[in-house]
Amino acid sequence: MYDFDYASPRSVREAVSLLERRGDDARVLSGGTDLIVQLREGRRKAGLVVDIKEIPEVNDLSYGPRQGLRLGAAVPCYKIYGNETVQKLYPGLIDAVSLVGGIQIQGRATVGGNLCNASPAADTIPPLIVLGAACVIAGPQGTRTVPVEDFCIAPGRTVLQRGEFLLSLRIPPPLKNSGAFYLRFIPRNEMDIAVVGAGASVVLGKRRTVFVSARVALGAVAPTPLFVREAGDALAEKPVSDESIQQAAEIARAAARPISDMRGTADHRRHLVGVLTRRALEGAIRRAKES
């Protein structure tokens, strides 16, 4: 690995100013589980690595009944699944953070980093999308907010502009009778990159027999994590039944644009989208009923 400069700013302003000055030559470091490996293998270049972990805002993990969850960009996975409020209110997010990498990786890896790495197969992005999460981005002009589903624009690329970095994520408070679920398919049982990932969230009616609304998002079947709005919309006002779930799964299957690579064939991926979407919806419904 070649040498690079390292900076550890203490404030958002300081970080923004460094990033603005160095532009593409600078890379943001939080857990480092992607960045360091990429630098070592020459897949990314950086003259300056900006470690944001000393900035207070990026370490925030707090919940309020109005504002929902504030998840700082540098909060590692283990802190998230160790948090009782998140466990209780956002089990769909717990699904994802507890299967990123292995135990050691989860001690360092962050949801913010997973998002900024912008892998189509990132495990935390589909659940963030179905939970309606938004990205709070800090930059030279102050902060702006972007829905998670609009954050990634291509493999490894995001909407972040020169001088900007991801400050935190906002996840709205869970509605009544709602639930979310994420699962993925991998050939082994851990430590693999998703062949397909599927997240779903549902809001059910008072009697929990009808869908009020639903959201479905997929991983590893398009250049970016895929929000399949029409699959969720198709469930609105439909009865909670195998048939309606299957219909939504079919829509997701049709929306997927998978490729064949060494991790899976396009046919297998498309098939898995149907199976996993159904299972994700079933999981989300189970949670909504238990809520």
Binding site: Y2, F185, P187, R188, M262, R263, D267
Partner: protein, 740 residues
Amino acid sequence: MQQKMKKVKVTIQERGEPKEIEIEVPDDGQVGWGDVTQMKHIGQHIPRLDGVAKVTGKAKYTYDINLPGLLYGKILRSAHPRARVVKIDASKAMARPGVKAVLLPDDVKGLFNKECRYAGQEVAAVAATSPDIAEDALALIDVQYEKLPFVVDVDDAMKPDAAQVYGDRKNVSDPRVREQGDVAAGFATADVVVEATYRCQVQTHVALETHGTVARWDGDKLTVWASTQGVFSVRDELAKYFNLPATQVRVITEYMGGGFGAKFGARPEGIIAALLAKKAGAPVKLMLSRKEEHLTTGNRPSSIQQVKIGAKKDGTLVAYQRSNYGTGGVAGGAGIPAGPYIYAVPNFRVEQRDVSTNAGAQAAQRAPGHPQASFGMESVMDELAEKLGIDPLELRKKNDPNKTRQKEYDIAAQKIGWERRNKTPGAGSGTKKRGMGIGSCTWGGGGSGTKAQVTINNDGSVEVKCGTQDIGTGTKTIIAIITAEEFGLSPQDIQVRIGDTDFPPSGGSGGSTTAASVSPAIKSTTMLAKQKLFEVVAPKLGAQPADLVARDGKVFVKSDPSKSVAWKQATAQLADGPITIQGEWVAGYSDTGVAGTQFVEVEVDTETGHVQMLKVVAVHDCGLVIDRLTAESQVNGGVLMGVGYALYEDRILDSPTGHMVNANLEDYKVVGAMEVPEIEAIFYDEPHRGVIGLGEPPVIPTAGAIANAIYNACGARVRELPITPDKVLTALAQTQRKEG
């Protein structure tokens, strides 16, 4: 007096192909190990003595060797699958501060080849003051390649218009044929015939510790720390290369992290390390990266078997035909055992073709050829059983001539609950389905040619020296166990020193021969040393040496245990100083030829194709078990390597570019902790046969058993390894189409 001889069978490698031959060894009529029921340590569960040192990091592997002024070596490797080095300019690399030596093709004879035949072949090397500088320097070497046509896919390589891997010969070897009886006549009498093609991928070794060497010159004396399965083979190769007497080269391997057949001899990287050290005038450490490990250090060749088998209605096999081809890359054959694997078939014909491709050369890998053969045979046996309407277990028992395995079948069937299995494959409701399958194996595993030295000091301390190496199998521990048993001490009391060519010579650790080579040498040497001690002690106890026993830390008279001295009192009487005895391997304490069977249970998610291993019952014989715990470890390791082979591992070469696309551990998938099934290792004890090796057998039957279990679970017959989820689903869809 003429030495009495006896014949034993051993497995050797001939042109990359395992072959069983008969050799003569001295038969001294020894009674063997004696009454095992009276043994205190042998056959017990004894934790390995160096376990704590290993897990705490105290154990020093080659990677951990640091010397004053140490430099770091790195190898520049061919960037193309087939190319000619036209020009190479290292002036920028040499000018880089910190670079201390550069080796180019023209600098050294017979090491680098300007004709690069696979992506990863050695082109040049550097030594520098840090690994980063060395890496930097590689990038500064300017190589001009003339790119040439190549082929990496085994089937492409067989086409008439394929690029030739070697200019002077075809990619496909002439077939080697072995025949017995009359195959056509055999098939004519068959009531049922099954024909199918089975494919096995290329698997790499993936030892935890990569290949590597630390080399230091002191004048004309070369000392080398190497991650090797054979310290003496490294010494002899280096001595030959540098034209030095063997006495001037010392090779040390105190600890090593696995080899599985790919770590014999100095290998190019070992010679390069020594050359760099010589040129730089400083010690050099050269450890390969995981990527280099996948590309260049060996692999298990692929296998494509076109099989036809015929049987009578009652299941009696009458004819077998197999045509196998596979690739060992640029060198080495792809042979599998030449005959119907383990089952008796009166009429057979097998053909073998080796196919050259522009890929790294194969190397022996844990039971060379056997897992491929077993997968093909066990799969077709299951397909035959179904066509015949016979229980797969019954079909095996009917055609397996091995008496040990006959008993092992019953043990395994009972342990796994064979009667619980699906009687109709794929039966049952739900999306997750369970099934069971069988696979079996045979191996040689005999020993020979080891010398050892035992010292009993006046203070009672005991040291054993033997130039074998512990490749992770527990050799150090079994040496201590055998010595302790002989002297009536505890294994912890024995100082074992191995892995050094300064010690009495022993062979390489391959072919499951180490335990059967080392144990008899230790037994005979410690017996001689004990005899010496008894000769000194006997008069003081008023007895003959033959009447004495060493046990529980004492030496006493067998007929009157009250006449005794503590071990330390006994050794204090050694007036002539310590006893030092050299002994060697003798016949009578080891044997060759083992049989094993493995029954597995799996669960298949029929919607995703995911296979979950549930249980493996592994029944093996290995004669006398010295340490039951290390023996169980061998079974665990073999089974897991077999699971990886069956379900996950695959060296993927990209046909258009000729490069390996998964030369890492992210996409080259080995078994992880979450994939480990319950493994029940059961030993069919045959102590009267003496010690027989066990390292290889447990890997062999695993893939075939898993394939059969998947079929039993869900009705999907996958004839190609690794059995990935998409293959399971494709096979399931075909089954459903057939039914529908």
